[in-house]
Amino acid sequence: MFLTFLNFASRQGGADIQWKRHMYKRIAWSYYGRKRNCFRLSIRTVERALRYSTNSGKPKREFYNNIVKIRLEAACWEHGVLYDEFLKTLDESSIQLNRTTLQHLAIYEPRTFQSLCDFTVKRQGELGLKAATATTPSGVLTRGML
């Protein structure tokens, strides 16, 4: 007798359905009315809630990165350095500190951050003197005037 079709058609061998219902009940504990207690009704709300909770990944990262940027900008500005130049100079000098760490230093170790800013200022000054002797970048026509 052809039984394989029945094997495919029937739902056997999975976990006890009560586990899933228990999970949904745990998530729906604060909902209003029968959504809280009845599985068939709470599926609709819980699954939407879980889906919506995945929305926050990218905006959350952007939000916190923006805060870090604002903090670093303000901290550099206090010591008279521009944010972009500060990061660029650190990168060129192989000081591999990421923005989160720099922001942490600016808040909790202000003197260390000050020394980093002073270093960048000094380094930019050195580069300024060397710029005259350095090769001009490609695509710039100076006609020998610089």
Binding site: R26, I27, S30, I107, P110
Partner: protein, 179 residues
């Protein structure tokens, strides 16, 4: 929504355990099992063969055996901070139970939840936390506010001033033309 049902916590340790001395946080472990049922076979085997090794290597942990008829076997761990963990050991082999036991031994009583940050410190600052006067001149500590000089509006040439100047010049030019 999920945050209320899927809780998250900051990294915690029980009384800085491990920084100086390490104290095993497991206070007592209870084996609930049935003497007859097949579910408890692994538990019974474990109790016969491997339990004494465990007790000898962990003298600080109190072990209780609760043979209860027709109940599913459980492993209940209680911790020094009052936390409690139970694991249903139905149909587990004695090796599996040993692994779970070792897992429970290594834990503190803190509940497992999503850890928000992988670091935690009570003393984040050595040099002192930044405040608005950190990078300002320390003579400000002894100044009396308000300061007249700082309260004055700085004189900048406004557009009105410029227009008035232009108008004045035009009037002078007019007068000299008429003359």
């Amino acid at each position: 929504m999920s945050s209320s049902s899927i809780p998250s916590t900051f990294l915690k340790n029980v009384l800085n355990n491990g920084i100086g001395r390490y104290v095993c946080q497991l206070q007592r472990i209870t084996f609930v099992f049935c003497k007859q049922k097949g579910d408890s076979r692994g538990t019974r085997d474990f109790i016969e063969n491997k339990l004494l090794d465990f007790t000898n290597s962990n003298p600080g942990v109190a072990v209780y055996l609760q043979p209860r008829n027709n109940r599913s076997p459980k492993l209940v761990a209680e911790y020094l901070n009052g936390g409690r963990e139970s694991i249903v050991t139905a149909k587990m082999s004695d090796d599996e139970i040993y692994k779970w036991l070792e897992h429970l031994r290594g834990r503190s009583g803190i509940k497992i939840a999503r850890i928000r940050k992988p670091q935690h410190t009570e003393n984040p600052s050595v040099q002192g936390v930044w405040h608005p006067f950190t990078n300002k001149d320390s003579s400000l500590n002894k100044t009396q506010f308000p300061i007249q000089e700082l309260s004055e509006v700085p004189h900048e040439i406004t557009t009105t001033d410029k227009l008035l100047e232009i108008a004045k010049k035009l009037r002078e030019a007019d007068v000299s033309m008429k003359e």
